[in-house]
């Protein structure tokens, strides 16, 4: 799943809250809609965005379609953050060496 799709799906506080609720376990659309002062069709639209982004999965249980977090839902984001951390940490380790090597007082204030 491209990172831009993931971020677009996350770029909404209602969708972030839905993911937060699902982190605690499976929920139906009614259960997900309960905390929000917006219509159920609007919640369904948010759920559709999350489903199309591969962030949530749905199963069929009679007339209900409970939602749950997809197992690798936020992996691309985690991967990117890890790469960014690694890249920056490489730079900062060089800075550690520079700070340890340069005698204090040799730099301009």
């Amino acid at each position: 799943m491209p990172l831009d799709t993931t971020f677009a799906a996350l770029a909404d506080p209602t969708r972030l809250a839905i993911l937060g609720r699902l982190a605690m376990g499976e929920a139906t659309v009614n259960e997900l809609a309960a905390p929000f002062a917006i219509s159920q069709p609007a919640i369904s639209r948010h759920i559709k965005v999350l489903e199309e982004a591969g962030l949530i999965l749905r199963r069929t249980d009679g007339t209900h379609r409970p939602c749950r977090l997809a197992p690798q839902a936020l992996d691309p984001l985690d991967d990117w953050l890890r790469h960014l951390r690694d890249d920056m940490e490489r730079n900062y380790q060089r800075l550690d060496l520079l700070l340890a090597a340069t005698p204090p007082g040799k730099e301009k204030p």
């Binding site: 971020f7 972030l16 790469h83 951390r85 490489r90 700070l99 301009k108």
Partner: protein, 158 residues
């Protein structure tokens, strides 16, 4: 001592790290071109042939990086908004690949932390789509190169 990241909103990234030197020295290493060029390099082997930094309000930033093996490179330009030496700076930056990426607002704090410094860098973009553009283009460019190099050497990257 390794850095920590927080991604509290889709448009904000916070990086924190401790350094074993007082704020004035960590500030200088971030502001003086001769020092910046020794560490702000990205993957091993990259060079920084251009490093211009004018730390005052309205002052300009220009960094250019190059990978000698391939000639591949990119640059960053920016402008300072606030400079409060050696405690805090705010600047706006963008990458050029060569096309310019969206702007990224960066606030950097250098706070005394025992005998050392706690660096806190907060990066903010206008919206989530901008964050995606920033990370999928410029910021990951050098990272992908080093990531592939690690893979080719047989190191696990997971």
């Amino acid at each position: 001592m390794t850095l920590q990241t927080q991604h509290p909103t889709p448009t904000t990234l916070i990086v924190t790290r401790h350094f074993a030197a007082p704020p004035a020295r960590v500030w200088a290493a971030h502001m003086e071109p001769a020092l910046i060029q020794q560490w702000l390099l990205g993957p091993d082997g990259w060079t920084m042939p251009v490093c211009e930094n004018d730390p005052r309000p309205g002052g300009k930033i220009r960094y250019e990086w190059r990978e000698p093996a391939t000639g591949h490179g990119f640059s960053m330009t920016g402008t300072y908004e606030l400079v409060d030496a050696p405690h805090r700076s705010i600047h706006i930056e963008q990458m050029h690949l060569p096309d310019p990426t969206p702007e990224n607002r960066v606030e950097t704090r250098f706070d005394a932390d025992g005998t050392g410094t706690l660096l806190t860098m907060t990066m903010t973009v206008a919206d989530a789509a901008t964050m995606e553009a920033m990370i999928s283009s410029g910021m990951t460019d050098g990272m992908e190169t080093s990531y592939k190099r690690l893979e080719s050497l047989g190191f696990a990257t997971a």
